[in-house]
Amino acid sequence: MGVISAIGNSVAENHQSLKDAVCGVSKAFDLFPTKYAGLLPFGQVPVSTEDLLQQLQVTAPGVTRTTLLALHALNEALADCGISPEDIKSSETALIGANTVGGMCLTDELYNDANNKTDGSDYLESYDCASVNLYLQKHFKITGVVNTINTACSSSANAIMYGAMLMKNGYAKRAIVGGTDCLAKFTINGFNALHILSTDNCTPFDEGRKGLNLGEGAAFLILEKEEDIKGRKVYAELTGYSNANDAYHPSSLSDEGDGPFLSMQGALNIANLSADKIDFINAHGTGTENNDAVESKAMMRLFDKPPAFASSKGNIGHTLGASGAIEAVYSILSLVHQEVYANLHFKNAIPSTGLTPVLAYKKMPVSHVMSNSFGFGGSCSSLIFSKV
């Protein structure tokens, strides 16, 4: 596993920050000039793009921050897993990545190139979402299946699911899966135009929640079949995954939460688990009025009594296309260390649900964790990770 986020540049740093309930979201922002710098809180990865280029020894022109975050997380995951460069190049190794902004973080370059105001910047081949994985494919000389998925905020949960399906169906022996997204003027203004960005730190599942905070980051995981592990470190088993559509509205969820309900239920079916076996839910919990109310309702529909749950959006903000993968890493940390982490900034339960998330770090037995990701276009996905 590898991860980079506002609360750490590695799995170990993220783990410590989760235990310490560190909030990486603040109004200190210096990535690029925007009217909202200092006004809105963001979960910025505290490493500049220049430093990332240097650390990762990337000298080729046209490599975006979105790609650099992905490369950073993927390097860590590959080193952690200990697979050989030959295995990475094998035609049986797939690379499935997700992102939603691609090179659109370069708002000004894109504006100039798209409107024919230049002779072309270095980034002409870097704007689309596929550019991230095309770079990684070339960098690691991957010859197996390579794919990019974009289902908005649930993208990387679907990348993990697609990787698992490739292995199950014999199209790959091993799948490198994950997601990345970086902060961009584009997404900041987009979510702001929808009036769902909070001017304060987001307060997932709190009665007085005022919206989400945007964040950035990346995470990659390496999936292998049980018979191919050959003594390598194993963190957890991906036992359930499901995707369903809410089919209600382009940018918000239905009152009854059919999509979230169906994706959670579908994942339980694949895992062959009854609802009461889930010990903890890493909720999507963005902190918007709509998401948290609907997700709560869907949890109450599926579970007699919802298990312990928490959202990590208070720690790192909403990392969009990366969130499913980053939260998969966090879910696995809960399994490995038999503990759960605090849902930050919560004060009072939503009156209609009365649900209170995990409020402080605690040790507890965790055998199965569910991780939810929901996005625009009604895209809902749930994953289940189990203890090995």
Partner: protein, 347 residues
């Protein structure tokens, strides 16, 4: 493996099977722009917000989606759906200096907008995924559909590929040297011998299942690879045929993605050398133009050629055969992303 039961397409040509090459639509300002039908099945309240790729995708899919026999999920391939809306929103950000902006473009700019809108309009709560991996976006959607059907053999899915020539994206690709610099008629596309392709746009949609009844075509195998090495691509094709072509059968039609770009032509000729003498070679991109998901229209053509005659102007090489049972599609996007698809008819 999967079975294709229904197909629908929207493209540059009113009639993609036009036999008289003199009657085909030609590029205007170096672009082969799709002719859009009247979208009677798209609710006007939703249509008003849609950009062209979204209209084409939703508009090509809805005629295949019946209320009485709904599909179980929607699997889409589109490299750049929502790109036009994306840059429109970007232009708003610059024009109004990050002031009060209208969110409509932003909501429509996410890559999964077509599959999402289709889910919404048809109230389909099943599997819903969008693959955006440039020249292999549609191929990954095909692979996804095959895998979904392996797991759920009684299901059916809507599978599609769509992309548009958005004006902004055109500017970016033109700067990057993707397109032909000179004006070229699609009637003599393959003689151009210059770098770059003629850009097109369109949508092709399919209803697919694991059910061997009432089908148009059987898609038996698909393989993809990223490589700039011609010999490696050739070796992959050899392996693909060894693995997937049933003993005693032969490819009788090679549906080539040749697009008039002299940079990718060597890949196509290298693959042609592996074909038997009695394999016909057919090209379609003078009809459709090229774009990341043009191979979806290639698959549409393959379905047609299992049923009916190939227009003369589409042949690169003719054989004595007049009907075809096994079609091999090879597509190459920008000399890097390659796909092989094998399609056959029942016998």
């Amino acid at each position: 493996m999967l079975y294709i039961h229904k197909t629908f397409s929207i493209s540059v040509q009113q009639n993609l099977l036009q036999a008289n090459i003199e009657l085909i639509n030609e590029p205007v300002n170096k672009k082969l722009q799709a002719i859009e039908p009247a979208y009677e099945k798209i609710p006007p309240g939703i249509l008003r917000r849609m950009g062209k790729s979204i209209r084409m995708g939703v508009g090509a899919a809805l005629p295949l989606m019946s209320e009485t026999d709904p599909v179980n999920g929607i699997i889409m391939g589109s490299a750049n759906a929502g790109m036009e809306e994306c840059v429109k929103f970007l232009n708003q950000i610059v024009q109004y200096e990050e002031g009060q902006l209208t969110p409509g473009n932003f909501v429509q700019s996410t890559g999964n907008v077509i599959a999402g809108q289709l889910g919404l309009i048809t109230r389909n709560k099943g599997y819903n995924v969008t693959h955006v991996h440039a020249g292999l976006a549609f191929e990954n959607a095909v692979l996804d559909a095959i895998m979904q059907l392996n797991t759920n053999p009684s299901n059916s899915y809507l599978l599609g590929g769509v992309d548009e020539i958005s004006s902004f994206h055109y500017n970016i690709e033109a700067l990057a040297g993707t397109y032909k610099k000179e004006e070229v008629s699609n009637k003599v596309l393959y003689e151009a011998g210059s770098p770059g392709y003629l850009v097109g746009e369109g949508a092709a949609m399919f209803v697919v299942s694991a059910e061997a009844n009432n089908f148009i075509a059987k898609l038996t195998a698909i393989a993809t690879i990223h490589s700039t090495d011609i010999e490696l691509v050739q070796a992959q094709l050899k392996m693909f045929l060894q693995k997937n072509l049933e003993a005693g059968t032969a490819i009788d039609l090679f549906l080539s993605g040749e697009n008039g770009d002299n940079r990718t032509l060597p890949f196509y000729t290298a693959c042609e050398t592996l074909l038997a003498d009695d394999t016909a070679i057919v090209r379609y991109k003078h009809m459709t133009g090229d774009f990341p998901t043009a191979s979806a229209l290639g698959l549409w053509y393959a379905c047609e050629f299992l049923q009916q005659q190939v227009p003369q102007h589409m042949f690169k090489k003719k054989t004595s055969k007049t009907s075809y049972r096994n079609i091999l599609l090879y597509n190459n996007f920008k000399g890097l992303q390659h796909s092989f698809i094998l399609v056959s008819k029942a016998w």
